[in-house]
Symmetry: C2
Subunit: 396 residues, 2 copies
Amino acid sequence: MNIVVQKFGGSSVADTDKIKKIAERIRSRVLQGNKLVVVTSAMGKTTDNLIKLAKEISPKPEPRELDMLLTTGEQISISLLAIALNEVNIKSKSLNAFQAEIMTTGDFNEARIKNIKSQKIFDLFEEYDVITIAGFQGINEEGDLTTLGRGGSDTSAVALAAALKAPCEIYSDVDGIYTCDPRLHPNAKKLKFVTYDEMLEMASLGAKVLHSRSVEIAKKFDITLYCAATFSEVEGTYIVKDNIEQPVVTGLSVMDNQTQVTLSRLPEDYTFIHKIFSNVAEEGLNVDMISIIDDDNSLTVSFSIIDESKEDVESALHHSLKDLEKWNLTYHPGYSKLSIVGVGMRSSSGVASKFFGALQQIPIKLVTTSEIKISCLVETSFKQQAVEALTKAFDL
Amino acid sequence: MNIVVQKFGGSSVADTDKIKKIAERIRSRVLQGNKLVVVTSAMGKTTDNLIKLAKEISPKPEPRELDMLLTTGEQISISLLAIALNEVNIKSKSLNAFQAEIMTTGDFNEARIKNIKSQKIFDLFEEYDVITIAGFQGINEEGDLTTLGRGGSDTSAVALAAALKAPCEIYSDVDGIYTCDPRLHPNAKKLKFVTYDEMLEMASLGAKVLHSRSVEIAKKFDITLYCAATFSEVEGTYIVKDNIEQPVVTGLSVMDNQTQVTLSRLPEDYTFIHKIFSNVAEEGLNVDMISIIDDDNSLTVSFSIIDESKEDVESALHHSLKDLEKWNLTYHPGYSKLSIVGVGMRSSSGVASKFFGALQQIPIKLVTTSEIKISCLVETSFKQQAVEALTKAFDL
């Protein structure tokens, strides 16, 4: 049985005309001899609208009930798609998370998939050619509905692909993964291949094509992922284990609205540092780039956060550093983070040198590196200049 | 445990402000010491809008998938209501048909409830004060979602009341059962009590307050039903086994858009008559009043249908009566049916006499009677005159 998992994003199922078009696309794949599992997101802005309704009633809606509410969005799109498929004589059945038995943890609003019973889907393929399955949702052990967090439909699709040992195709309004955001750099090139590791770095750095968790699962189960535009025949990007093209640097990610937080002249005491970061983490705040430099028996700690979490971070720091006035604490909002990513960096020297060479005209505020990534923070007014310098230097 | 089942119609949950108001009402009942099961319909026009979406894709949407689509409407309203209740510190949990295990037959779009496992709800009342449950929906043995037909949320509520051995309160924008539609007869009186049997006759005759099936279940399990307006303190109507007030005639129902179909000079052959009605029934068409008169060795058959099914009935008759021109077949559209209903008629004589006395100035086209009902068909131009004569004669 030739099974393929396809996932269509919210803009691809935004209205009934688009749903009919997708049904035609799926039909042609069935006629080529495939059985399809099709995962959809909610239509257009449905999820946002449901959240708006809940917020009209409560500023902090009960998480279990919010998930009960939000899961309706995907149930609407899968049933409409199944209606469209049956209308063009493709035998199709829709399954919500209950019916597909997508078991998750009990963490409402951010559950993680634990397992999927694939046998039911295999059985249904005896009678049906296409099973449409609600993305973004699952059930916990108590039979409560859960959701996987924003963008979770990607994760649903890849987890289903893993359960069915099938390849997974992700369709959206973006036609693939680019070396750099084409809005910033019009000559950005579309990548034919990108590795899981590169994609993980890029997804978390703001390349909004794929939900990170979905890439983690694809990597873990070695599922070939393919990203392409829904309403286009242009070839997209494959996300694979090894990149046969293997350039040293694959892509440049850019993220705005970064605040740099710096504490200087701290005592050389790492339990103190631990306390700072654990207080911030307890508030559920994400700290991104972290750099610590020990200089002349005092520590300087600098890290980046998104601008909008500044107040929360501030109150977490006040909480952990009672006598705050003793420390030299500064906030610099409105920075941009630029990162170059590439698995080839592991085995190639001179990348850092080229990176700093390209940016020598630009004041760099903070730098962090990993095995396959170099990130720096610059004032946003220098962003475009930095993008041009880096794309030129690394031929992106 | 003092359990009450309440049901709120679509107009009662049409927006978040109304949902918040209902939450306050429910809260005051909880503070009085009750545990509540609250069944809701979909918000406002949600179901109509979902049907419209499906029809944009297919003129005849696959029934199983249509139910999958429509059940989302009630899931939205129960989760929003649970959010509203938790917001006012009433511990509440919503259950869809899967979770409440509302088992139905497999007849998509018109399923019937087979059973409800009440133990789960009793268990949840250990922790929660209010369980909101999606009306209108169930699951069949295969785990597919089903719906109970339009107005089915009433049936869900009464079936839950039967399972929990609790009274059932139905709230809508109608504040009770009247002797006659107040739009036709402004002096119509609200009834304090009406019996199940009377309500069954009235529900099927166009009194749109309650879904007939819900009254059947209430009668079978002897559940006290109470109908009242959601946003009003005015007392409503109790639907009970015996009407302690027991007037001879309780109400007058009126239904427009009736077509009278008459076949005359038929052979005195009842297998032939059977064939006519079974052909009509096979098309799923409802025949209402039926009168057959044997006159001088030939039969005259007359029955009423709703105007809009005329063409379908016509083709069913053509099918059963090959040589249609042989028979004298006439259609009279645009009639109105008036029916007086009352359990007191069983033990009271002279009702028919009073009925015909009141209508002596009006040409009556067809009459049928049951133990607790007399119905007649008149031209709609005489409707208002007939309503006034009957309400006066029977003090309605």
